[in-house]
């Protein structure tokens, strides 16, 4: 069956009015739940999953796709409006998105995120339809050594996340890597840094750390001198993108889409890097890198596009090989199985209507997301006019309840308080939280792949250089360091000013 016939079949399934309705409900519910602070996309999907059980397979999976996009977008909305990322990619969006919101530009930030996501989603859906099987095969060439090198590259490139001191950013990354190691070592079962608490065996909860270092720390900053400074965000100037904004986001969206599409196919952690990689790329390529971290719209549009493209292409390993690339995909497998479909290499041949129906519905889901959310931008932005003294108790409570409702683990809430104070202190002293979160999500992967590669090579580190893909990635990492370090050495002679702000 050629591509167009297949897509035709897909759209005939996805355009069924009942399916469109459920897709819309999914997008709506996903957005509404994803917007709750403390509940990221993974938790949103886990919560809403049961409502799809009673539907027939196509409808259920189409609705689930809608929930997924809605949850992603809802998570970004919280990151932009109140600096509370629900997953690692939203932590990147929060850097510049929240600054834009503070300057009264929450509307354009949300619109840029929605439009970028829609464009990226459309392109990635097409890639998925046209090239899924070969892409999935290619991704299988990535083993432990390649992933290790890729993560090293990602970490080094991401120093660009900081707009202040580079050394402090490095420190935050390393601190994040260490925090990521809390919990049971998967290789030996040794519990590490758990104070003997079995509740910590699974590691620190990402949402708890993110809510602490971003949300709670921000609230404490705002409480510093309430009387002199206007807290929270300014009144909204305009809701829509200006022509200048549009011009500025075109290239970031295109580049983000490309980066995200490629990284998303890699099942061993590629999608995590997509938003960070896009942000770093935009900052490097920008004529005014100084604007990043202070409300650059490129820093919202690029990572959001990259993240959505990766979210889309991470379906490729799931749909063609039956392997989940991340927790959300694992949930999807559960949903597939409950619908009587075992994801695997055969789905495309045995259930073509379902396979192509889901792909087509992804595009429709993205479209509905834009249709639903562009009008909602006004509503979300209105929420900012709630006085801060009412808003912040709500944020604290929602964050606690949301985090607790996911695993019923009270230590996740203790962690919010701990990371709230640690994050507050570090930010007060001029360190930034985004690199810490990147380190936190990549720490376990870095260690896992390093140790696995060494087991497979029987203790020979040459494996990282002998394998061509791995070697290439390491050379790129080295180049990234040189590019980053050389200008700053040169600059140091010329400038006397400190780079701290």
């Amino acid at each position: 069956m050629d591509l167009f016939a297949s897509l035709g079949l897909g759209f005939s399934v996805a355009l069924d009015p009942v399916n469109i309705l459920y897709c819309f409900i999914g997008v709506l519910l996903g957005t509404l739940v994803g917007v709750l602070p403390g509940i990221g996309p993974t938790a949103t999907i886990a919560m809403l999953l049961p409502i799809t059980f009673s539907l027939n397979p196509e409808t259920a999976l189409i609705m689930l796709a809608g929930i997924y996009y809605g949850a992603q977008y809802g998570g970004s909305t919280t990151a932009i409006l109140i600096n509370l990322p629900g997953e690692s990619s939203a932590a990147v969006t929060a850097i510049d998105g929240y600054q834009m919101a503070r300057q009264g530009r929450a509307g354009p930030a949300l619109a840029a995120a929605a439009l970028g996501s829609f464009f990226a989603g459309s392109v990635a859906t097409f890639l998925l339809a046209a090239f899924a099987p070969p892409l999935a095969r290619a991704a299988l060439n990535f083993g432990a050594p390649e992933y290790f090198s890729l993560i090293v590259l990602g970490l080094l490139v991401s120093i660009a996340l900081a707009h202040g001191s580079i050394i402090k950013a490095l420190g935050m990354i390393v601190l994040g890597l260490l925090l990521g190691m809390v919990g049971q070592d998967i290789y030996t079962g040794t519990p590490r840094f758990t104070f003997g608490l079995r509740e910590l065996f699974g590691g620190l909860n990402f949402v708890a750390v993110a809510v602490g270092v971003f949300g709670i720390a921000e609230i404490l900053r705002n409480l510093e001198n309430e009387h002199e400074r206007e807290v929270g965000v300014k009144a909204v100037k305009n809701l829509w993108l200006t022509r200048d904004d549009l011009r500025r986001i075109i290239m970031p969206v295109l580049r983000g889409t490309g980066l995200g599409s490629i990284l998303g196919v890699l099942p061993g952690g590629g999608h995590i890097l997509s938003a960070f990689a896009s942000y770093s790329a935009e900052k490097r390529l920008s004529k005014n890198p100084g604007e990043f971290g202070k409300g650059a719209i490129e820093g919202v549009a690029g990572p959001e596009s990259a993240n959505n493209a990766a979210a889309q292409t991470s379906f490729i390993p799931l749909m063609t090989l039956g392997i989940p690339a991340h927790p959300v995909m694992a949930l999807m497998i559960g949903a597939f199985i409950l619908q009587g479909i075992t994801p695997g290499p055969n789905v495309i041949n045995e259930q073509p209507a379902l396979f192509w129906g889901i792909i087509a519905s992804m595009w429709i889901g993205n479209l509905l997301l834009v249709v639903l959310n562009l009008p909602l931008v006004g509503l979300w932005v209105k929420m900012l006019s709630i006085p801060y003294r009412v808003l912040f108790p709500a944020i604290v409570l929602f964050a606690c309840i949301g985090t607790f409702s996911i695993n019923q683990n009270v230590y996740d809430i203790y962690a919010i308080a701990f990371f709230g104070i640690v994050g507050y202190l570090l930010i007060r002293f001029g360190c930034e939280p985004a690199p810490l979160l990147l380190g936190f999500v990549l720490g376990p992967l870095l260690e896992e792949h390093l140790r696995r590669a060494m087991i497979i090579s029987r203790g020979d580190p040459m494996i990282f250089i002998e394998r061509p893909i791995s070697a290439t990635l390491l050379i790129m990492a080295l180049a990234a360091v040189l590019v980053a370090v050389l200008p700053s050495i040169r600059r140091r002679r010329a400038e006397v000013f400190v780079e701290d702000d």
Partner: protein, 327 residues
């Protein structure tokens, strides 16, 4: 709005109903029943539980809610149920990990044998010994010879400490009196990825995860771990056919209430479980998972207690011999 108010009122009533001391056993159940799954939503155990819960609520005439309490290899959720009120409204659905935890964790806050009232077995999922598709040995006999000869040069993927895939590997190495190089993964999903990519040699996983890959020819299957061949993979021999005796491993799932639950309530729950397992939808969904509901004779407290006891003793021995511990 009216319905919202009604629901609110209903949930308030449900909340305060806890405080009404003794609910008469013959009236049971008068409120929703919660089954705790000690793993995250979407996993195989969660899937099994949701299927059974839906069917049980029909028989009980009350909603059966699934609650995921993941962490620490299932011991957090199990601990929570052990400490819950023994009124029959909080149950636990746990798999083989119930019997391995005492050997793996030095300080368990509960005793699987005495802190629970077994309700019945639910299902037994067979496992398969599989390898990357270009792995040299052609048959189970070849594999055994190859593994004995190459020992540590063969890489074996498992899903971490105490995972069924690790237990299977331990039994296999024990039976062949050899040592493989074990490569742990964060769950069987990533392990399957590396197996498909030919990055590692072998693994052993439940049919739920392997059947579709085997049927598509993406990986090689050498043996099933049950005493008899299984219906979905009729061409795959048993371990015994290859000369590996006493190799019987399946991921069994059981339903438990906290110890001290009124026997009349346990009986009612056993009855509901048996009804659920006889349900056609449940049977079909289980078949898709590569498994089957246990017969009514095994969905009983006695059968589950016996299974738990036998398995706990077996794994204590195997795990101690292998020197594995999760502390």
């Amino acid at each position: 709005m009216k319905t919202v108010v009604k629901m609110l009122a209903a949930s308030l009533v449900a909340g305060s109903a806890f405080s009404v001391a003794a609910v008469m056993a013959q009236d049971y159940p008068t409120q929703p029943v919660t089954i705790v799954v000690p793993f995250s939503a979407g996993g195989p155990t969660d899937t099994v539980t949701r299927l059974v819960a839906a069917a049980m609520s029909e028989d009980l005439g009350q909603q059966v809610v699934v609650q995921n309490v993941g962490g620490a290899g299932g011991t957090l959720g199990a601990g929570q149920v052990a400490a819950a009120a023994n009124d029959g409204y909080t149950l636990l659905l746990h798999h083989i990990g119930m019997s391995t935890a005492p050997a793996l964790y030095a300080s368990l806050p509960y005793d699987p044998m005495t802190d629970f009232a077994p309700i019945g077995l639910v299902t037994e999922v067979p496992m398969t010994m599989v390898a990357r598709k270009d792995f040299e040995p052609a048959t189970l006999e070849d594999l055994i010879a190859y593994v004995k000869e190459n020992g540590e040069n063969v890489t074996y993927a498992n899903a971490g400490i105490g995972a069924a895939s690790q237990l299977c590997g331990l039994l296999f190495q024990d039976a062949l009196e050899t040592k493989l190089t074990e490569v742990p993964y964060q769950g069987t999903g990533p392990a399957m990825t590396d197996l498909l990519g030919g990055q590692i040699d072998m693994m052993c996983d439940q049919t739920t995860n392997t059947t579709s890959q085997i049927q598509a020819g993406e990986i090689k299957a050498y043996a099933v771990t049950t005493p008899e061949r299984i219906a979905v993979l009729p061409d795959v021999p048993t371990m015994a056919e290859g000369g590996v005796e006493n190799f019987n491993l399946s991921i069994w799932h059981g339903l438990y209430a906290p110890a001290g639950t009124d026997p009349a309530i346990v009986e009612r729950l056993t009855q509901a479980l048996q009804a659920a397992l006889a349900d056609e939808t449940v049977g079909n969904s289980f078949a898709e998972l590569g498994t089957y509901p246990v017969p009514a004779s095994e969905a009983t407290p006695e059968a589950l207690a016996e299974k738990l006891e036998g398995q706990t003793a077996l794994w204590a021995e195997v795990i101690a011999a292998a020197g594995v511990s999760a502390q």
